[in-house]
Each structure stands twice: as C-alpha cells, then as structure tokens.
Symmetry: C2
Subunit: 332 residues, 2 copies
C-alpha cells in the first residue's frame, strides 16, 4: 500500500521564523474513496500571505484559524485519480482548497474543474486567490478612472502585480512599491508599470513625489510599513484606499500606528478593508471581469516554485523577507 505525506500545524507563530518546529509531518496510506467521492493527487500547492493570518491565535479573523493538529490550509491544483462522482472523471485537472497534503478525498465541494490549456501555474497565480483579490479590490472597491494615479504596494507580489497590470490596461498611471531592484526592474520593464519605488533603498518621500506629480487617487495596500504614511499624505481629494494586506503587521505583537484621520475629512478619503471570503459568491462575476484581460495577454505573471511538500514549512518566511520572485508555489 503506497504512502503519502500530510503536514499538520502544531504550534502557532511566536515571532521567530516559521519552520519545522511548528508542524508535524505525517505519513499515511493513500485512502480509498466511498460513494460520491473523488481522490485528488495534488501536484501544486499555493503559498499565500493569508496563511500567516490563519496560523495566528486570533479567532476574530475573517476565516477561521487553523486549529492545532489540523492539516495546514492551502489552495492547490491537482488531478482526479479516482472518481465515484458524476461531475468528475479520472484525469480531470482540478483546483480548490486542498491543504498541505499529497492526496485528499473530497465530495467535490469547493473543488473546481480547470479548463484544458490552463496550467497549474496560471491557475494558481492568476485565476485563484491572487487574480480574484486583485479584481475585487481594484474594480469593485477602488472604482478606477482613466487618467488617475494608483500606487500599489507589494507590487511584485501575487496580488499587486495583477492589480498594477489591470490598472495599466485601463489607462491609469501605475506606480509600484517593491523591495528590490530586480523587482523594480521587472514591474517596469516586463509588466509595464510607469514607475517603481524600492522601499528599502529609495528616499520614499522624494521618489514618491517625483513619480506621482498629480498626487495619488488610488492606493492599493498590500504591505503596511513606513511607506504607508508617505502614500497617505500624497492622496488626492476623493481618493480611495483599498486595504488588502498588511504583511508588515501580520505577526507583530504591537502593530505600527496608522495615519491620523484628519486628512480623511480634509480630502474626503475612503479607506476600505476587504477579504475575499466575503466575495466568494461573486466569483463567477469576478472571473468574467478578469478573464478578458488574461486572454488579451495583459496579465503576465511569474512563479517561484519550491520543491516538495516539506519545503512549505520554511517557504512561508519568504513573505517576510520578500525574497520570493513571483507567485510562491510548491510542486509536490
């Protein structure tokens, strides 16, 4: 009987790097399926910043935390290897919430078939959480208009890179904030951003001023950190701030202060936080909005692929250091 591996969360983040001490690696026999079930062999797993939130003790989060002793939660791509389900056939490519495991048994709930021709990379880097999040945040919350200026933090990240490209395709001036020269170069040369700020080396205030001569109308926030205050102060009247991620504060004991609200009045600014679980019912509309941009070649992506399930345990630290170059995936 062949074996497979799954990884359980056994300890919550404590401010130190995430690593094997927080997980239990279990080897189990590949299960058999019952009536109405399918067996999925996961081939690619997505690592997302949201996972850091799911691991925290905070029960007040928008998605239930992962309980200690549970298989760590994640979305993934795989193949149906056995099916007792009328909607799925052996060999179908599928995606959905699969968890840190090589095999899973499913009733098909939350598992979607992937169209032929869509690779695992494209499925997880564009049509999964990153693309849906970018679409919801930019269009439904940000309501961008031609000629406006948007600043995107985490601009080389899975969500930010898509936000910037969608905004660019719609005629906005697009400035991205990144953490390396290589990423700055990538978003400008490859993705077509109008400018990049390296938050680690640039003079934030003067660089931002130079790149946003007409101020900032939209601010798509993925990171937090000191750049937030600079962008906030460049906001124009009736500006919209879309708060999507705050990686700088996910595991902070004492979150950094935010901007004073007086400018919200002076400039009539709206700051709106959102999270995709509220919008899962709207996924068909979001995909309908996103797909044409992808089909027209306006959404490029790159992936940073780790090898083997166990690499996920340390791979999550790449979100803190920003060393991942592209959508972080694990190939199983």
């Amino acid at each position: 009987m062949s074996q497979y591996t799954e990884i359980l969360l056994t300890q919550r983040p404590d401010g130190n790097p995430i690593g094997p001490h927080m997980f239990e690696v279990k080897h189990k026999p590949v299960p058999t399926i019952g009536p109405g079930q399918i067996l999925i062999k996961q081939t690619h797993m997505s690592l997302d910043p949201a996972m850091l939130g799911w691991m925290m003790p905070d029960t007040n989060s928008y998605i239930p935390r992962v309980e200690l002793g549970e298989v760590m939660r994640s979305s993934g791509f795989g193949q149906v290897v056995e099916s007792n389900h009328p909607d799925f056939a052996k060999g179908d490519n599928v995606m959905g919430m699969m968890g840190w495991t090589e095999y899973l048994v499913s009733t098909g709930q939350g598992i979607n078939k992937v169209q032929a021709g869509v690779t695992a990379e494209m499925a997880l880097a564009v049509f999964a959480l990153p693309g849906l999040t970018a679409t919801q945040g930019l269009f439904n919350i940000g309501k961008p208009k031609v000629g406006e200026t948007i600043v995107v933090t985490g601009a080389a990240g899975s969500v930010g890179s898509i936000v910037g490209q969608l905004a660019k395709a719609d005629g906005l001036r697009v400035i991205g904030v990144v953490g390396s020269e290589e990423k700055a170069d990538w978003i400008v040369s490859e993705l077509g951003f109008d400018g990049a700020i390296n938050y680690k080396t640039d003079d934030l205030e003067s660089k931002l001023e130079e790149l946003t001569p007409d101020g900032v109308d939209l601010f798509f926030e993925n990171t937090g950190g000191p750049i937030q205050h600079h962008i906030f102060h460049r906001m124009n009247t009736h500006g919209r701030i879309i708060v999507c991620g705050m990686i700088a504060d996910y595991t902070a004991e004492e979150p950094a202060p935010g901007p004073n609200w007086i400018n919200l009045i002076k400039k009539r600014i709206t700051v709106q936080g959102f999270a995709m679980p509220d919008h899962f019912g709207d996924v068909p509309n979001l995909l309908a909005k996103l797909t044409p941009y992808v089909m027209q070649g306006k959404v490029k992506y790159r992936t940073h692929t780790l090898q083997g399930l166990e690499s996920a345990m340390t791979g999550l630290n790449l979100f803190f250091t920003g060393e991942n170059k592209g959508k972080l995936l694990v190939e199983l």
Copy 2:
C-alpha cells in the same frame, strides 16, 4: 449715518487660545444697496468647529481658508431690511453664509428664506450645517440598520446630538461620548441615548465594553482623541466609521497616530471621511430626509448663546474645552 461692526481675521491660530489678538474689529457705515441686491441685518450667528479649519494656513482644506484681512466666515440668521430683489421682501427671515458682521449686502446667492415659525435657534441648530451633516453622515455614509449599535463622539455637540437622535428614532442602540456628567445626563435623560461615556472620567475600555455588549457597528467620529482607539477595537465585522470631525487635532502641530489598518482587513471595515461642501447639491434631499424627524419631535436641541458679535472671538475656544452646552450661537 448709523454704524455697524464687522470682524476680520488678521492672524492664524498658533496653538494658543483664540482671542482678540487674531482679529480686527471694524466699525463702518451701514451700506446702501444697488439693483438686485438685498440688505440683511444678521441677528444670530452660528459658531461651528469647522471654522477652526477655515482659519488654519492649510490651503489643502476642503473649503478655501479665510484669507488674512477678510471678514471671518460663518453662517447666520437674519432679516431682510431692504430689498431690490424680486425674491426677497423687507421683513423676510433668511439664513446663509453671512460672516462675522452685523449687516451685509447680498445678491441673494446662497441666502435662503426661512419658513415662518422656524426660529433662529432651530434654523441654525437643526436645519443648517449640523442637521445636514448629521443626515448625510448617518444615512448616506453610515447606512444604519435596525438593531445595530452606534457610538457617537461629541455626542452633546451640534452634529453628534442630532446623529444620536436620528439613529435612536431608527431603532439603533445609541451610545454617546461626552466630556461632562451634565452632558452625559442630558443625552441620556433628554435625548434618549442608551448610554453615555464621559471620556474625561470614565475608564474608557471597560465602560465601552459594558455599554456595547454586541460590539460597535457604526462609529460616528466628531472628536478624535484616545477614545477613538478604544471604539475602533470594538468594531464589528463590516462596521462603518464615519469621520466627520477631529476637533482634538484641528490645530495640532503633530496629529496623534491613528489605528493600525490591519483590523480594517480582518473585520472588513470602511472608514470614510466626508465634508458637507461636497453635498451642497444634495441639500434638498437631505432636508426632505431630516424634516419628518424634526416635525415628529424626534430631534431636540439646545443652544448656548453668547451675546454680541465680539464674543465670537473668544467663543470659539469653547470647542476645545467642551464647555458649551448646546449649539453655539452668537446673538447680535
């Protein structure tokens, strides 16, 4: 030839109390009117926190600042004493932006006739900026629902007291934050608030927790200050924060930090600043929404009336100390 008094702004706030050193009191002959003009004798002048913003050097504000050497800006109530205008007759009661002056000549622009039976006090305390602001902020931005909990800061103030009463009339649980026991008593006993917090003497965290057992769905912010952080942390999922005033920070050199944005994501909160000049085109709709509440006796108000134009110069300080008991007016 009879004389009248007007007061010009000659110096901007410097962190010290506002007083006569910042103004010039001028005595001038009562003017005569030309074709199409009216002469208004102002009888009551409104003092509003927004004036503190208009006096500041910041040109980035939503209303142009008052330039040095200009008559200080304000709204008021008065009578037409001469008219060469087809729409106004001698004896008409009118309201509008009149400035710190006993008389003014107007073409009628921005001056509205006041219905018989509406006193100067009701006109300025309810149907002017305070009531319009409360209506816009609560209904159009806050979108309150029966059974929700709202916390209003500056709850005994001109805007806050109306917000609370409108919310109460619509079936919300209404908690007000005030700066004295007398005001706490007034908003609960007279206005029907469900509870009051004295930010100067109460333990903010425990009192807020006690009074908002189901958390806070709407936060109508008129003041800023440390209570802001406590209310922010009590916000429920999908909460709305309406940022209307930040009196604690209007003249601050270094505004106090705001809350970190991570909870905006976790709880999908919207924070929206607004200012009435954006909505002046919507005044007829706002009045149509507000008037039935007033006619049904659901909006009580009280006024704190200073005597004589010159009392305005020191009267503005009452906004900082919170010593005014009711809508601040000057009777000329």
